[in-house]
Amino acid sequence: MQAESGDDALFMAGGIDLVNRMKFGELVAEVIYLGGITELATIAGTEGGLRLGSLVTHYQLETSAAVRTHFPELAQTWQDVANIRIRCKGTIGGNIMAANPGYDFALAAMAANARLNFLGKDGTARTVPATELSGSIRLGLLTAITLPSPARLSLAFDRSLRPAVTLAVGLDLELGKVTAGRLAVGCAFAGPMAVTLPFDKPLPPRGLAQRSATLARDLAASLPEPLSEAHGSAHYRRRMIEILLRRNLVMLADRLA
């Protein structure tokens, strides 16, 4: 359908974000409605991890037995995202593609190092890491988000300072050590932002806790200038990113120990 439509045609899933943008004056020439494509609304375990269809709603995510079992922090956090009406209608794919810094699922996908599957206009399938999200909007239809195996991943979410800063942290695990990590930041920049935690070698949980203050300080200092507006100044946001990151690294280290 997209190939037959004009270049300005937009995909619409839950539509809440799109309708609100139109109400605020955004001109939309054509909409390709995705409702009813049930194949894109399923959650399934695969060899590569947990595959979430792009039309999975937030409510499906929070109530899914598979998500609750494998990613309990994700299911728990999602009970507080937006409100029940938005969670019943809004989709995780739409949440990502809106690229709104205040939305949450892009952060989860980035922190988890999820893979995003796209279907291009010409029918070509393409997979990109969620951490490279900024350019994804032109890759076609987002069809699925695959979270890596929970055995090799630990996640934490912190929405306590929303709408000034939200944050998600993902740590990759191997043989009881943390081999890599990612920080995803929402609300503080023009779009969701992901950065890699600078580990020079695998760290045991205790080592991660010991280095958490330095890691958080250096990483926060290395970020671009955060937004300064009514919800917080750039200085405040940078400082809160450091504090929340340190707190969540310690919490994750305790969980893994």
């Binding site: 539509g15 809440i16 309708v19 609100n20 139109m22 109400k23 020439a29 054509e30 909409v31 409605y33 409702g35 409510y59 009970q79 507080d80 937006a82 409100n83 029940i84 009406r85 938005i86 019943c88 209608k89």
Partner: protein, 158 residues
């Protein structure tokens, strides 16, 4: 580009075949075309919950839903809750517990409660607050609403 679209939707147990503009918002369809003015428009941004209706049993903000999205679904508004002139137990509980004052938020509040009690037959206060947290009432202070929900849950369990 298509400017009108045919939809078939069951509204309050009545099947409606409609030809609507593609950009018709569900709240306007209900209020202006079907004269179901119990669907209130408050914030018009999916935040306040006044426009809540049920689509296939799930709570939805009619103010941010296109009419074409409800094609093939069953929509319930507050006008469709009572049957045979008898109030629904949730409506009766709100009445008996003073769960409303001006009444503007009440249709959305009651429909959210209906969806809540379908998922959680005996919800604790935390669950009630979580589900109704985004149904904004400027009159009651919420406590009587929570008491009404508990009473309704009890009445519906009997």
């Amino acid at each position: 580009m298509t400017s009108q679209i045919d939809i078939t939707v069951t509204v309050n147990r009545r099947t409606c075949r409609l030809n609507v503009p593609v950009n018709r918002i569900l709240a306007d369809l209900l209020r202006e075309d079907l004269l179901l003015t119990g669907c209130k428009i408050g914030c018009d941004q999916a935040v306040c919950g006044a426009c809540t209706v049920l689509v296939d049993g799930l709570p939805v903000t009619a103010c941010t839903t296109f009419a074409f999205e409800v094609d093939g679904t069953a929509v319930t508004t507050i006008e469709g809750l009572s049957e045979g002139g008898a109030l629904h137990p949730i409506q009766r509980a709100f009445l008996e517990h003073g769960g409303f004052q001006c009444g503007f938020c009440t249709p959305g509040m009651i429909l959210s409660v209906k969806a809540l009690l379908k998922q959680h037959g005996d919800p604790d206060e935390n669950t009630i607050r979580q589900w109704l947290g985004a149904n904004i009432c400027r009159c009651t202070g919420y406590q009587m609403i929570i008491e009404a929900v508990r009473a309704a849950a009890g009445a519906m369990a009997e």
